[in-house]
């Protein structure tokens, strides 16, 4: 180890001081990669935590949660549970909840843009306990509706006790009074900044749901007379549940929340790792250059008796040190960046899944350590090959200034391995998904994508062999290097192929998605006006419109047709499923569905048990046309028969679509979830919308054009992060090409002198370098776009299909791919020309 220490102290650190700009650049490259990774993770975690907090409310520490298998829970069930539990000291806390939004008459009509709060109605005794802890006076409790909020929310909204808060509850404006502010207590979870607490009966009245609640939180502390109280409680409550409710533990709830956002989290994690990968690649290129610059010094050390192992260790330790410093810097930068990213991620999650309240990303020690460890790990991986190259320096060759370019890296020259990996990818692509925690994960498809990328990257170097002898002196020199590519050429091509393939694959997928979704939106959104509760800020919100409001609207003279959509959730195969009650005749008349398996005409008349399912549900449950489906309903389990399967790109969890009569029979609910209106030919949609909005301020009312635009905006918002990271990937690959060429030029400094000696001008040297770079870029673009097409197919036909159950039609974004190719080629030529200009000024090695 003494050798290693000497190398580090007397050589490496001295280089750090002398070439501090280079070292700083290295640190920044690696720190930025880590920062992107950490920022995405922290923002994602914060948004998810907000989502989980939103879902679980203030009772997240309960032992068990009881939820109805279908529809709401009923008050008599509570008495039944109490009786079954007998003298056991178990607390049953019934809770009713709904998402509400502040009434903002002038708010912009962007879906997901309003703050979304959770109104939780719970037992009065629990509320009184909370009120006793309040440090402030409790105002009069009688009369109007009163709420309690935490200190965080009161501070955020600037409320004081007695404040009047207008809320949109379903389709009504309800003004509530702030009764008390719950202070922060040590060792007690503070109510989050989106939670409004209300007395249970008051909440049931406000929500027009008498004798109903959504869940029961069960608190069963172990000890005393009942040492196994938790387990007993679960057993008793499960035994009497029948088909009516489910008993969920903490792990089940976490798994449910996790499965709902699994795809989104996986997407972000993969993208953030990609950022670190490109940082590592740039670092590899930079370290490669460092080794070439220090080759003579290494040769001297080797000649003086330093072993290969010491040289290798010294380089790896230096890299680890760089990684450590960059990791700490990256974590801090990432934490700062996460504050901006968290808002974007939370907004996307709100639009896609429901609600997230995150506005600030905390720095978690485990995330920081993971970030630093990944940075050090990336740094070590990036340094592995340069360290090996440094250790393999032959002193005699270098010291006699007769060093031939390093010719190892047999693996990278093995194009057949690349071809083999591509074949493996094709085989893997035929495999099905793996189900984990209730979510289908296309593991084999992801492995196929990885194999394909690696295979294409390895095989991409073969394209260089198509370069023939150049006509002029400049192209002769440039093409001679391409015909016999070094490992560095292959690395540069591999990076370009990977980046271009990923970008073009994503472009194909997004184009196909875009094409399919646009077609679906045009087909399914044919009504002139769409109405929902203003509280429904996401596709899965459960807020309803009362039957009375619907009837009022139906009487308006401008309306030719009005269709109501009913909605409830049931649990099938441990996951939530939407059940929709539709006006089937209306849907058929206007041809609203894109069919995977079209049902017969007037299908709802053919059999009383006929339903439609969406494609996602069919894939998730493994059922298809004519199969039977058993679902829980508020009136007992029902057996349904699948009469058709429709495409649905708004919901990956699954939907069952049944005629309204059947829906009412199963769930007894007459409230509307959504309303679609067809206007008479002479009616002005915008004027009707404005008039309806004035009459019903608690509703969100959209014209067809606006809703279509909003649907597309949410779709594009989902892919915005993907686009920007892919762009970063391409920029980094081009920068990597520049660095690779710089290393090649340093390695060939002797050849450059030879070229000058036989009459090459500086311009000629730069031009030869530019041609060489252009050749690499061209090969990278051709191989990248070609393999990107297959990758696009894989994402569409396998990853999407397996993860979400969506069938997408293939759409080739020809102009986008051409633009990508031209951009990469142009950037590659410019980067190479700049390197060439620098190389032309390199001083001769042959000086005495």
């Amino acid at each position: 180890m003494r050798d290693v220490w000497i190398i580090l102290r007397d050589c490496a650190l001295r280089h750090w001081r002398l070439a501090w700009r280079q070292q700083l650049m290295l640190l920044i490259i690696l720190a930025l990669g880590t920062a992107v990774h950490v920022a995405m993770r922290l923002a994602n975690r914060s948004a998810l935590a907000g989502f989980a907090r939103f879902s679980e409310g203030i009772t997240r520490d309960s032992d068990w949660t009881l939820r109805a298998a279908a529809g709401p829970m009923k008050t008599p069930w509570l008495r039944e549970m109490r009786d079954a539990l007998g003298p056991r000291p178990v607390t049953l806390l019934p809770i009713i909840e709904a998402t509400v939004v502040p009434h903002m008459p002038d708010a912009a009509a962007r879906i997901g843009s309003r703050p979304t709060w959770r109104l939780v109605g719970m037992d009065l005794i629990a509320l009184q306990n909370l009120a006793r802890e309040s440090t402030q006076q409790n105002p009069t409790r009688g009369g109007g509706n009163v709420v309690f909020v935490g200190e965080a929310m009161a501070k955020l909204e600037g409320w004081s006790i007695g404040a009047e808060i207008p809320l949109v509850v379903n389709d009504e404006i309800v003004t509530v009074t702030l009764a008390a502010i719950v202070p922060v207590q040590p060792d007690t979870p503070a109510p989050p900044a989106h939670l409004l607490l209300m007395d249970l009966p008051q909440a049931q009245r406000v929500l027009h749901r008498p004798d109903e609640f959504d869940r029961v939180e069960v608190l069963a502390p172990d000890g005393g007379t009942f040492p196994k109280l938790r387990d007993e409680t679960q057993a008793v409550l499960s035994a009497i549940a029948g088909d009516r409710w489910q008993v969920l533990g903490h792990d089940d709830r976490a798994a449910l929340a996790g499965s709902m956002t699994a795809a989104f989290r996986l997407n972000l994690t993969i993208l953030s790792l990609l950022a670190l990968l490109v940082g590592g690649y740039l670092m590899f290129q930079a370290l490669d250059g460092v080794v070439i610059r220090r080759r003579e010094e290494i040769a001297i050390l080797r000649a003086l008796g330093v072993t290969e192992r010491s040289v290798r260790r010294a380089f790896l330790i230096e890299a680890a040190l760089l990684g450590l410093i960059a990791g700490v810097l990256g974590v801090l930068l990432g934490w700062a960046g996460a504050q901006g990213a968290v808002l974007g991620v939370a907004q996307t999650m709100t639009a896609l899944y429901g609600a997230s309240t995150a506005t600030f990303a905390e720095l978690h020690l485990d995330e920081a350590l993971i970030g630093i460890m990944l940075c050090v790990g990336t740094s070590l991986v990036a340094a592995w090959w340069p360290a090996r190259m440094a250790a393999g320096t032959v002193p005699a060759a270098v010291l006699s200034r007769h060093a031939a370019p390093w010719q190892s890296g047999r693996l990278w020259r093995a194009e057949w391995i690349g071809a083999l990996l591509c074949v493996a990818a094709i085989i893997l692509a035929q495999q099905g998904p793996v189900t984990m925690n209730g979510a289908r994960t296309p593991v084999a498809a992801y492995a196929a994508a990885l194999c394909w990328l690696l295979g294409a990257a390895l095989a991409g170097g073969a394209l260089l062999k198509v370069f023939r002898k150049g006509r002029g002196a400049i192209t002769s020199v440039a093409f001679s290097h391409l015909r016999r590519p070094s490992v560095r050429h292959r690395f540069a091509i591999a990076a370009l192929v990977s980046a271009v393939a990923m970008t073009s694959g994503m472009a194909v997928m997004i184009s196909s998605f875009d094409h399919t979704v646009r077609g679906w939106i045009v087909r399914s959104m044919k009504a002139d006006i769409y109405i929902s509760s203003a509280g429904a800020q996401s596709a899965s919100a459960t807020n309803v419109i009362s039957a009375a409001t619907v009837e009022m609207m139906r009487k308006r003279p401008e309306i030719s047709e009005l269709a109501v959509l009913h909605h409830t959730n049931v649990t099938l195969a441990d996951g939530p499923v939407h059940v929709l009650g539709v006006d089937a005749a209306f849907a058929q008349r206007h041809d609203l569905h894109a069919w995977i398996h079209q049902p017969p005409r007037d299908w709802w008349l053919a059999s009383p048990a006929s339903v439609m399912i969406n494609e996602s549900l069919g894939t998730r449950l493994g059922v298809t046309l004519h199969d039977e489906l058993f679902i829980p309903t508020t009136n007992g389990p029902r057996t349904l028969r699948i009469a058709g399967v429709f495409a649905d790109y708004g919901n990956e969890r699954g939907s069952i679509l049944m005629p309204q009569m059947m829906f009412r029979d199963c769930f007894g609910n007459a409230d509307a979830w959504r309303v679609a209106i067809m206007l008479k030919p002479d009616a002005d949609a915008e004027a009707v919308r404005a008039s309806l909005q004035q009459a019903h301020p608690g509703l969100s009312i959209f014209t067809q054009a606006h809703l279509r635009a909003e649907a597309l905006r949410i779709f594009e918002q989902t892919f915005a992060v993907t686009y920007s990271l892919e762009a970063v990937g391409v920029v980094v690959a081009v920068a990597g090409l520049g660095l690779a060429l710089a290393s090649l030029m340093l390695d060939r400094r002797g050849d450059l002198t030879t070229l000058r000696a036989i009459g090459f001008t500086s311009r000629d040297v730069a031009a030869a370098c530019a041609w060489e770079g252009a050749g690499i870029a061209l090969a990278g673009v051709v191989a990248g776009i070609t393999s990107g097409l297959w990758l696009g197919w894989l994402l569409i036909a396998r990853v999407n299909k397996q993860a979400f159950g969506w069938t997408l039609s293939f759409s080739l974004p020809v102009w986008q791919l051409i633009a990508l190719g031209v951009a990469v080629l142009a950037a590659g030529v410019v980067a190479s020309a700049l390197v060439g200009r620098w190389a032309a000024k390199l001083k001769s090695e042959r000086e005495e």
Binding site: S400, R401, H402, A404, P405, K469, G472, A473, S476, V477, S480, H481, R483, R484, G750, D751, T753, T754, L755, R756, A757, I758, G759, F760, T761, S762, R763, D764, S844, R846, E847, E848
Partner: protein, 218 residues
């Protein structure tokens, strides 16, 4: 007019003097050997003459033209037409075959393919490596590489051939052959040769011998 005329050439590396007022001339067809110990400035002198390095003082005239006043493009043009270089370590471009290496200077001069092919084949034949035309440098022996390097140096019929220790990396038999070859091509083409060497034997093949010590001709 002299092919080469060097007058009072000065060159420093930082404060260290490398060349201290070197003056010499070479005429057409003349072969001059430059002998001296390592570090005496021989290669620096060659680099200054070849325009690969700029002198700090004095003049270098190639066929009467002062290279100190030339732009870098003019210098490159002078190297394409007037100069040929042979190095101790051959410095063939490793990714090009023997044929391509020799052909390269003619490509720079814009000669037609037919013209180039005939000339390169003829010269490879003349230096005795025609059978290695398609071989890469890594596939050739030291003697073969140096023959190819000499062919590349004289393919465009330069007025001055700069040879920096051309036999320094060869065994004695190969070295003798290379020196013979240099003499022959010089005689045939009329090129002046400035031969940097440590070897008294090599110096005997030249018309004149110059000795250098501490940056000066002695």
């Amino acid at each position: 007019m002299h092919v080469l005329e060097v007058a009072a050439l000065l060159k420093h590396h930082d404060a260290l003097p490398i060349l201290r007022g070197v003056s010499l001339t070479l005429d057409k067809g003349e072969r001059v050997a430059l002998l001296g110990p390592s570090g005496c400035g021989k290669t620096t002198l060659l680099n200054c003459i070849g325009g690969l390095d700029r002198a700090d003082g004095g003049t270098v005239r190639l066929r009467g033209r002062d290279i100190g006043s030339m732009s870098s493009d003019d210098l490159a043009a002078a190297r394409r037409t007037l100069l040929g270089s042979v190095f101790q370590f051959f410095h063939l471009l490793p990714t090009m075959t023997a044929f391509e290496n020799v052909e390269l200077p003619l490509k720079l001069l814009g000669q037609s393919k037919a013209e180039r092919t005939a000339r390169v084949q003829s010269l490879l034949d003349r230096v005795g490596v025609a059978h290695r035309a398609d071989a890469l440098p890594s596939q050739m022996s030291g003697g073969e590489m140096q023959r190819v390097a000499i062919a590349r140096a004289v393919i465009h019929k330069p007025a001055l051939l700069l040879a920096d220790e051309p036999t320094g990396n060869l065994d004695s038999a190969s070295g003798a052959q290379v020196l013979g070859l240099l003499r022959e091509v010089s005689d045939e083409s009329g090129a002046a040769v400035l031969l940097v060497t440590h070897s008294e034997e090599a110096a005997k093949t030249c018309h004149r011998v110059l000795r250098m010590r501490d940056g000066q001709l002695v």
